[in-house]
Structure formats: structure tokens, C-alpha cells
């Protein structure tokens, strides 16, 4: 089966991040997270075309990431809450991948 060309490659991502870094100097502070979330979206998109980087959790999170990105344009309190919720999802997944579902001693 022919390998699907990813929607974004590493160079495209690097270009986006460099341009974003410059943009962040002049943009409102709240746009920084917006640019970073778009970077996450592009990383997930890169993974879609390459089985080595395929990740079900990230694929599941993509719609959250792309939807949450747009919230910054209309409701910044909601955006902040969405970021908090998204981070908790990633934290829980990170723990699951690192230590499984064991309970920690402090629990």
C-alpha cells in the first residue's frame, strides 16, 4: 500500500513555529497559546500520514484542540477553561502511559 503523504511535514511545522515565534512578539499574550495549539494540531496531522507516529489518543484529542483554538476568538474565559480541561486529559493519559492504572502511594 502506498504511503500517504502527510498533510504537514517537519519543514512545514518548523516554518510555522518560527513564524509564530516572530508573531508572538507583537501579538496579544493570549494568542501565544493559540499558536501553540495550532502547532499541536499540525503535529497530530503529521502523525496521521505515518504509522510510526499514529496515536489514537492524539487523534481523539484533535477535534478538541481545533475546536478549542477557535474559542479564543470569542470567549477567552471559556478558552482558558478548555485549556485546563485539555491539559488534565493529557496529564491523565501521560500517567496511564507511564505507570498504568496503579494507584499512587499518596492515594
Amino acid at each position: 500500500m502506498a504511503k500517504r503523504k502527510p498533510d504537514y511535514d517537519v519543514f512545514d511545522l518548523a516554518t510555522y513555529l518560527v513564524a509564530s515565534a516572530r508573531d508572538c512578539v507583537d501579538e496579544p499574550l493570549i494568542y501565544g497559546p493559540l499558536r501553540m495549539l495550532e502547532g499541536v494540531n499540525r503535529i497530530i496531522m503529521m502523525g496521521k500520514g505515518d504509522p510510526r507516529y499514529r496515536d489514537d489518543f492524539l487523534s481523539k484529542m484533535r477535534s478538541r484542540v481545533t475546536t478549542d483554538i477557535l474559542k479564543v476568538m470569542s470567549d477567552r474565559d471559556e478558552f482558558k477553561k478548555a485549556l485546563d480541561d485539555l491539559l488534565l486529559e493529557f496529564a491523565a493519559e501521560s500517567r496511564r502511559r507511564t505507570v498504568g492504572k496503579r494507584r499512587s502511594k499518596s492515594n
Binding site: 516554518t15 509564530s20 516572530r22 508573531d23 501579538e27
Partner: protein, 167 residues
Amino acid sequence: MCRNFESAPVERDKLEALVYAAGRAPQGGNMPVREYIIVDNPKYVKLLRGVTPSFLANAPAALVICTDLAKALDVMGVQGRDILSLLDAGAAAENVALKAEELGLGVSFVRSATTEAAKRVLGIPERYRVDIIVGIGYKSRDRPPPMKGSKPTVHHDAFGMKWNGKA
């Protein structure tokens, strides 16, 4: 503003109609200091988006509105070059937005601090300023709801005097 577009290309005659609408917007001193780049080749759209982080929308085409700064200074002076031409470019972009709606299209206004990079990828000469980029395409049915409107602050006759109207 539309942030999610269909991938279908925009017909050339519609792009021309949008540029015509942009050209009907005011220009300080009534001198043609504003120029346009219609970008609809997917490679160039990708290049432009790649160096313009705020170009989040997946528009298949874009209209880049530029000002010839040397000409603007010559015919409009410093204020014309630095302020009026920017206001005029905004008016041109709004004309494009209104015409786009009539043609069944959507637009997205884009402005980043990375306009020098946009000039580089599109080969725009040094003396031009990229004022605004208008992403253009057919609106996706799967798009987020419009942003909440905000109530304008209106004064009556003099600043601080209350306006009792509904605006």
C-alpha cells in the same frame, strides 16, 4: 469571518468581481497606491499560510492587499502612507467581504507580524507593505458559529455624554 472552508476552488470570475469591489473602496488623494495579489495556486496559498500564523482558516484562495509605500508617500505624505492607506486597505477588505457574501463565498481577514516573510514567499518588492490578507472560499457547512457581537460604546455630541439610542 469564516474559519472553515470547503476545498473547492473559487472561480476566476468571482475572484475578479472581488478585486473590482476592493478597487471601489476609497484611496486617499484618489491616487492608486493600493495593489492586489490574487493567490489561488495551492502551492502559493500553502507558502503564504506557512509564514502567516494567523492564517488559520483553510481558505483555498487569498487576496493580498498591498500599498506601494513610495508612491503613497509621494502623493499622500507621511500620514497618508502610514495611516490613511491602512484605513483604505481595511475598507477595501470590507468591500471584498460584502461582495463575497453576495457571491455565496466567505472570507477571513488575516494580519500577522510576519508580513516581511509573506513578501518574501510571494516575491513582493521591498517598497510595498502587506496591509491585509483576505482568505477566500466557499464556507464549510461544518463551521463554528459566528462570534458573539459586542455592544458598541456610543457617545452623544461629545465624549462622555450618554447616547440613549439602541446602538
